[in-house]
Symmetry: C2
Subunit: 256 residues, 2 copies
């Protein structure tokens, strides 16, 4: 890894980059995934690098869906596997979810490598190697396991492609996305759109799942019924606006 | 390169990613540079993937500075070398600038490879290999050529680090940056902050330089005097806000 001085003003952000570059080096993350990581960084900066009240609300609604699910899958790609393997395993454990590897830049070698990586971090069963069903999409994220995403009623898709997200919703599934762009097709088409950094979101959701695990099914249903996804997206846009306004003010830039 | 269907809704953006991934494959771009590219993509999306009127104004002011310069350098990093080598050469030709390679993740091999890459695209002299002077910074972008950036009165820094940008300004240089984040330290500290995609910016500037090349020195000075950099940054923030508002409206999301 390139040596980065602790004095560098963007030290934390540069270290995260180094982690994901390491993911590429060991064959887990695709190079294109690094660009996607950068897009996320920019939106996280805009949202203020914190979980907004509204995002926490979405995370609770997501957990309610997960705890009520009959067949719950967490879809894992090369970026989440490199950045947050332990968090994925912890959330799966507490919610009873199964992890399924699903890649845009798919190869059998990468799928197996990621599955092994997750198992080395404590994952039990990891799906995605079979790829015995296909969604109606023109790229490799179409390839899924029948006993996994294909038959699931609830799917958590951190860092997803918009068209696959739409397809899963069209199939009648409850889709929970984690995506920092409030106006991405993923955020706009999901049942629950978590507009938060994937590391913070998974940590919060694991805590919420522990808290809510023994709640009655009716009280979980109440959380879902009172949830308004469009409001959460509106709130995220407002948070971006307020953050830009604040930063401009601090820097003597006129807000027009 | 991974096959990408033309039907994919983000086809153009994905193809650009493939280009910069190719830059990594041939040793020109660093893997960390891919993450930086992603950050730029996000801000370009926010600004509407177009040159705003205000950015065009900044590009004209930048060209006026360049045409009045005594010693003009265009700093080249691994991302600009991979994405826009021809545009860098064209702008240098019309303004009489010299290109200098300057890297955050520096190695002699990469510097030479980039210099050769630029020469294969028509560049004459390319500086940056000597590295015989050092700016007061804790990372490798400190290393510059005495006959280049160190002695220049005007420096164009596309996709720059904030701290080096500040340092160059402190040294009394006129610094022109190209950076899509209007509130980055680079944009906030530059003499002229071009808040535009680097491909569009360089193409516009080359055209403006052709148009303005035979203008009198007084008329170039007038362009500079009437230029207000803080206003340009304000305008960029306004453009982002308007773009988000428009997109939210089109998608039925309430703007609060």
């Amino acid at each position: 890894m390139t040596e980065i001085s602790r004095e560098h003003p963007r030290y934390e952000s540069l270290i995260t980059r180094e982690k994901i570059v390491e993911g590429v080096r060991i064959g887990i993350t695709s190079k294109q995934g690094l660009v996607a990581q950068g897009r996320g960084e920019a939106f996280d900066y805009l949202i203020g690098e914190r979980t907004t009240e509204s995002a926490a609300f979405a995370e609770r609604a997501a957990v309610a869906h997960m705890l009520l699910a009959t067949k719950l899958i967490i879809s894992v790609n090369g970026n989440t596997a490199a950045l947050v393997p332990e968090n994925l395993v912890a959330l799966a454990d507490v919610t009873g979810a199964t992890l399924e590897v699903n890649l845009f830049h798919r190869s059998d070698a990468r799928i197996h490598k990621i599955a092994e990586h997750l198992k080395s971090r404590g994952a039990g069963k990891v799906l995605g190697c079979k790829g015995d069903k296909r969604l109606d999409l023109s790229h490799d994220r179409a390839i899924v396991d029948e006993e996994g995403i294909f038959n699931a009623d609830v799917v958590l898709v951190p860092l997803e492609d918009g068209d696959r997200c739409q397809k899963l919703v069209e199939m009648g599934k409850t889709v929970i996305s984690i995506d920092l762009n409030p106006l991405s097709r993923t955020s706009l088409s999901s049942t629950v759109s978590i507009i938060d950094n994937v590391t913070r979101a998974l940590q919060n959701m694991t805590q919420f799942a522990k808290d809510m695990k023994h709640d009655s099914r009716q009280s979980l249903r109440d959380v879902i019924v009172s949830y308004d996804n469009n409001k959460v997206i509106s709130d995220a846009l407002y948070a971006i606006q307020e953050r830009l306004k604040l930063q401009a003010g601090e820097r003597g830039i006129q807000w027009i």
